[in-house]
């Protein structure tokens, strides 16, 4: 079997993992379709791309390293406020704002990773939750800096690369978000298929045993947490730049819970899980936006219960199982 031979040739196994599949190419090409088919929905498409990027960042720590975080919006919000504040105070160049968002989120992520790497289980959940709530409260109280509950107003972006204005129809916004998403995806794809990515999966399965075979769990968790924070920061910065405003909601528990729902719905531990989840979640929310929020959350609740009970690995996990069953029947 494949697993037996791969045990003897780890490099061959990793190389087989990195090969691009037809489905992946089809997926990325279909991301261009909105430009042609749904030109009126490009704003929504850019929001989906940003949400997918945020879900990807959570996937790195949750799906790969097994760190359950209920406060991941903290880094999203940090990125958003950094980029927003930079643009508000006279430097509206988008790419440098993106870098600033990533750097600020990564710095905070790096510092907090020392705490994160020490804990597991309920304590970890509580610390991430508490950290998220703390930042939310801080931004709420720092009215002079963030605008508090009114949100950050007066963000003015310069044209992207000096040539492409952010237009009302979201053409530039979607192209920009999609390119950033693809670039970050390439990095994470390379990373998760590297020996480092493999050892992360090992940590998810057993954080105590990994150091025994020479993979320092704590150091690895610190690295991936910092990286994940940086990506979440980029996603937040993208949202701030494309919407030209930052609301307190970017830091809220609701956003942390939503991204968790998105990732789990799509399938955690698979790079595309967050993408599938983001598309379904955001399109559904757009369709049902006329509904009162309580019905929307009723649906989310039922969905969560159903996913946990019947689809333990999300939609992609279910599809993979179907495909495996079909292949088993064919041979």
């Amino acid at each position: 079997m494949a697993s037996a031979s791969s045990a003897f040739a780890p490099q061959a196994y990793l190389q087989a993992q990195t090969r691009w599949r037809a489905v992946e190419l089809a997926f990325w090409l279909s991301c261009l379709l909105p430009f042609v088919l749904f030109p009126n929905y490009l704003v929504l498409a850019s929001q989906i791309a940003i949400t997918a990027l945020f879900a990807l960042s959570l996937d790195l720590i949750l799906g790969y390293a097994g760190i359950v975080s209920l406060g991941h919006a903290a880094f999203f919000g940090l990125g958003a406020y950094s980029a927003g504040l930079l643009a508000k105070h006279g430097w509206g160049e988008p790419l440098s704002g993106l870098v600033l968002g990533a750097v600020v989120a990564a710095l905070v992520g790096y510092v907090s990773s020392f705490v994160i790497a020490r804990f597991r289980h309920l304590t970890l959940i509580m610390i991430t939750l508490g950290f998220g709530l703390l930042l939310h409260e801080l931004a709420n109280k720092a009215h002079w800096l963030t605008g508090g509950a009114d949100g950050l107003q007066g963000v003015r972006m310069w044209p992207l690369l000096g040539a492409f204005m952010f237009d009302l129809w979201g053409f530039t916004a979607y192209a920009y978000a999609l390119i950033v998403l693809f670039a970050v995806f390439l990095v994470t794809r390379r990373l998760t298929n590297s020996p480092f990515g493999l050892s992360l999966r090992g940590i998810r399965e057993n954080p105590v045993r990994m150091p025994a075979i020479g993979a320092p769990s704590v150091a690895h968790i610190r690295k991936i947490y910092t990286l994940s924070a940086a990506i979440a920061g980029i996603a937040g910065a993208l949202l701030a730049q494309t919407t030209e405003t930052v609301s307190l909601e970017t830091l809220s528990f609701q956003r942390s819970a939503d991204v968790l729902v998105i990732l789990v719905l799509g399938g955690a531990g698979r790079l595309y899980g967050g993408f599938v989840g983001a598309i379904i979640f955001m399109v559904a929310r757009d369709r049902f936006s006329g509904l009162t929020p309580q019905y929307w959350y009723f649906g989310i609740g039922v969905l969560l219960v159903a996913v946990v009970m019947f689809l333990p690995n999300g939609i992609l996990g279910g599809l993979a199982r179907l495909a495996a069953a079909w292949r088993g029947k064919a041979t």
């Binding site: 509580m126 109280k141 528990f253 309580q294 019905y295 609740g301 969560l304």
Partner: protein, 287 residues
């Protein structure tokens, strides 16, 4: 100077006792099964709405509604435990978090559908209103009642855990679930009973909380944070720990809001993070 401080101390303690009632059940069930039940406050909210409905629509006296708040929350909890939770005891904590967040979402939506998003008022009996003045300090009668109730419940729970056979099985299961099973203790059954008892206490806490903090559909999430703080700071499976942590958190919250209102809820989160980093297993936790 001292008068207001004693007043704040007392109000904080009363608030802490409320948190104790809301969180003690979660602490024990978490300690037994390591089941992360984020829907705990949804059961508390149920108790609150039962009291509101019985008082408003059926003109029941306040005290008569309290046992029903307890029973309805406990009965609903048993149904959920048997139907859903039971399947996930050995699942990952992520699955447990997701399932119970889902149930909490549903409860919020149902409460908003049935009662709207406005605060539900309760009309307290006249003998629970007003306050006593002792040495220049005001003691709200309702808060005194709350403190006494919580102390009695804590005492009964403590005695039950320490001196009854049922308490013994719970302590065994919290200390080492597998060993307890090996000794022939039906951990699943005692867990179901504990779960019902804990959720019932949460329902009672929800009913008693209306006068102090109000009741609206956001209750299930807003107070979940406080309850989780109490549980994780107090340590899992420890009634004494929950009691101490609830008093501490209740006092810091009230004192923080009284003396440094511009900090808001900031202080409480800071206290929690500091305590968790200092003692990851909680103040009284063993693991």
């Amino acid at each position: 100077m001292l008068g207001p401080f004693v007043g704040v101390l007392f109000d904080g303690f009363a608030y802490g006792m409320l948190l104790f009632l809301l969180s003690v059940g979660l602490s024990v069930t978490l300690g037994m099964m390591n089941f992360v039940n984020l829907a705990h406050c949804a059961f508390a909210m149920l108790g609150g709405y039962v009291t509101v409905t019985l008082m408003r629509d059926f003109q029941w006296p306040f005290f008569a509604t309290l046992p029903l708040a307890f029973l309805s929350a406990a009965a609903t909890a048993v149904v959920f435990e048997r139907a859903l939770y039971r399947r996930l005891y050995r699942a990952s904590e992520l699955d447990q978090v997701l399932l119970t967040i889902g149930i909490a979402f549903i409860s919020v939506a149902v409460a908003a559908y049935l009662y709207g998003t406005v605060q539900q008022p309760v009309e307290l009996p006249s003998y629970l209103r007003g306050s006593w003045t002792l040495l220049g300090v005001n003691f709200g009668i309702y808060r005194v009642f709350l403190v006494v109730t919580a102390l009695v419940i804590a005492l009964v729970l403590g005695l039950m855990l320490e001196f009854t056979r049922f308490g013994g099985t719970i302590r065994a299961a919290v200390d080492n679930q597998r060993m307890a099973r090996g000794l022939g203790i039906d951990v699943d059954r005692s867990f179901a009973v504990t779960f019902a008892l804990g959720s019932g206490l949460a329902g009672l806490g929800g009913a008693l909380a209306i006068e102090i903090v109000g009741l609206d559909p956001a209750f299930a999430f807003h107070y979940l944070v406080y309850v989780l703080i109490v549980v994780s700071v107090g340590g899992l499976g420890s009634i004494g720990g929950s009691f101490a942590a609830a008093s501490l958190i209740g006092f810091s919250d009230v004192a923080g809001k009284y003396y440094v209102p511009e900090l808001g809820a900031f202080l409480i989160y800071l206290v929690m993070l500091a305590l968790l980093m200092w003692r990851p297993a909680g103040l009284f936790g063993k693991r």
